[in-house]
């Protein structure tokens, strides 16, 4: 049975996976197999790498061989993309068990998932679909996160989504929603700064306003990624969270503001489509590292 715990009364639940947090203040990148040899000979000291959990849920073969080799050299973060935490139906218990097995096998430094849904009935949609923010969805998301945390025996991080539509029946803001989730479940938050920017432009609000109300004290990882620009029905800018290019200047600026305010937070550059050669990805991670290394006080967001 899963239980919803209150973080304030359960400090142990907020303990980091490894006692000596090896990625404090470090930047990392998505891990792509074609980069393995380059990474092993040329990764920046202290870098970490993130993989999509689902790609390593096969029984064996080259994916596990590659991740195993990487894991011996660097900390790895496991990022799930299909658990459907935001969906109305119960989590797929077989999938939760697979995630647990993966966490046991690779001892990741972070485990994260999205505030979204991707399965309905027996169909898997392979996209991160949005949900309305209401008391009912909040209760369900908290229940699902508690179930995941019980299974993996450590806190997970929940990522804010990039969205293209809003729901008429939402009764609270996204930032209030994730604050309540973190408080009720003890989970950490993964602040995707690109998603903040994409959603803000798409819905016509100020990204700084969003960040001002975001519970930054619960953020344990930051994501940066590229997006592309389209237009909506009325010809206005509509940004798509595509992960297929460099991080936009506006996103770098927001990231700099978050770090200036909070101090260094582990930061990961995602790049999943049109993946460039390793030096390009490495340069993005080093640019993020330069921001983290600016002379700042230690984590001051409380």
């Amino acid at each position: 049975m899963s239980s919803v715990i209150d973080a304030s009364t359960s400090p142990a639940a907020r303990a980091l996976r490894s006692p000596a947090q090896p990625i404090a203040g470090r930047a990392g990148t998505s891990f792509k197999h074609q980069h393995l040899e380059a990474i092993l000979s040329d990764a920046p000291q202290g870098s970490f790498f993130e993989v999509h959990a689902e790609n390593y849920m096969g029984a064996g073969g080259p994916p596990h061989r590659a991740l195993g080799r990487l894991r011996r050299e660097a900390p790895v973060s496991i990022h799930g993309v299909s658990l459907s935490i935001g969906g109305p139906q119960p989590l797929d218990s077989a999938h939760v068990a697979r995630l647990r097995a993966l966490v046991e096998r690779y001892d990741p430094v972070l485990v994260s998932e999205h505030l979204a849904w991707s399965s309905h009935g027996t169909t898997y949609f392979n996209d991160l679909l949005p949900l309305p923010y209401t008391d009912a969805t909040l209760a369900r998301v908290c229940e699902h996160i508690a179930q995941v945390q019980d299974a993996i025996r450590c806190p997970m991080l929940l990522e804010n989504p990039a969205t293209y539509v809003l729901f008429r029946d939402s009764t609270m803001s996204e930032t209030d929603f994730v604050r309540a989730v973190a408080r009720r479940t003890g989970c950490g938050l993964l602040l995707d700064v690109n998603n903040v920017y994409v959603s803000a432009i798409n819905h016509g609000y100020c990204p700084l306003q969003y960040l001002a109300t975001f519970p930054l004290g619960a953020v344990e990882e930051i994501h940066l990624a590229g997006h592309v620009e389209q237009t909506d029905d009325e010809g206005d800018r509509l940004l798509i969270d595509s992960h297929d290019g460099p991080v936009a200047d506006a996103v770098w600026a927001l990231f700099g503001m978050v770090i200036a305010r909070c101090g260094p937070i582990p930061t990961l550059v995602e790049w999943d489509g049109n993946v460039p050669d390793w030096p390009v990805l490495k340069a993005e991670a080093m640019a993020a590292q330069a921001v983290l290394d600016r002379d700042r006080p230690a984590n001051v967001c409380a």
Partner: protein, 233 residues
């Protein structure tokens, strides 16, 4: 519709982003599993065919490398692919290739293991298949077509047009697709089902009297088709 843009703006195109993400990402998933099929049909044909399949048979597992097991059967019935009756078999080899890629790791049976078996035990030997072992039978030169279209090298005419049965294995990191000799598929399928070497050989000889059992078993062991052997009763 419950969804909306900011300040009640129209959400049709915005909603379409999700619809498009779902369809395009699943077409890409099928294209990644079936690159030779895509090369043979061309991108536009493939996308249309994949779109029909996704609509009728969407994925039921969040593990996309498991998707598309029904695609070969769909291709076989697909109206616009009837002029390429061999296309479904190319898809079957590609699906088996990816299955072999992700199966559990296991050390393949060493060739010397067979040599160590006393002659009077041979007929009773039972072979444990390697987790990656797959057989795809085709009345067409499916392996030749698969091999020619799997990479980027230029394609040419198929020189020998005869049926080809494929053995797919992954003894280590590399997936290997080999041609089984006539009768070899029946022989191996019988061994995989747990029949003894003697029974499997007799079954194979019935369908293909000229089959060279000793050479056949040696080749299969060398391909990594088995994980172990044990002497039967």
């Amino acid at each position: 519709m419950r969804v909306t843009g900011p300040s009640g703006k129209a959400a049709q195109k915005r909603y379409g982003v999700y619809r498009n993400n779902v369809t395009v990402s699943l077409i890409e998933a099928l294209a990644a599993i079936y690159p030779a099929v895509q090369r043979i049909t061309g991108g536009e044909f493939f996308r249309a065919m994949a779109r029909f399949h996704i609509r009728s048979t969407p994925p039921t597992s969040p593990l996309l490398f498991e998707y598309g097991h029904d695609f070969p059967a769909f291709i076989e019935k697909y109206e616009h692919a009837q002029s390429m009756p061999w296309l479904a078999d190319i898809a079957r080899i590609e699906r088996a290739w990816l299955d072999a890629y992700h199966t559990a790791d296991a050390a393949p049976l060493k060739p010397e293991a067979l040599a160590a078996v006393p002659v009077n035990c041979l007929a009773d030997l039972v072979f444990v298949p390697h987790p990656s072992t797959r057989i795809v039978r085709s009345p067409y030169p499916a392996i030749a077509i698969f091999a020619m279209n799997r990479g980027d090298s230029p394609v040419g005419p198929i020189e020998i047009v005869e049926p080809e049965d494929a053995l797919i294995t992954r003894p280590q990191d590399e997936v290997v697709v080999r041609r089984l000799p006539p009768g070899g598929a029946v022989f191996l399928a019988s061994l995989i089902s747990g029949e003894s070497l003697g029974v499997a050989a007799a079954t194979a000889c019935e369908v293909e009297p000229s089959i060279q059992i000793a050479a056949c078993i040696t080749d299969m062991i060398e391909a990594g088709a088995f994980a172990a052997l044990r002497c039967g009763e």
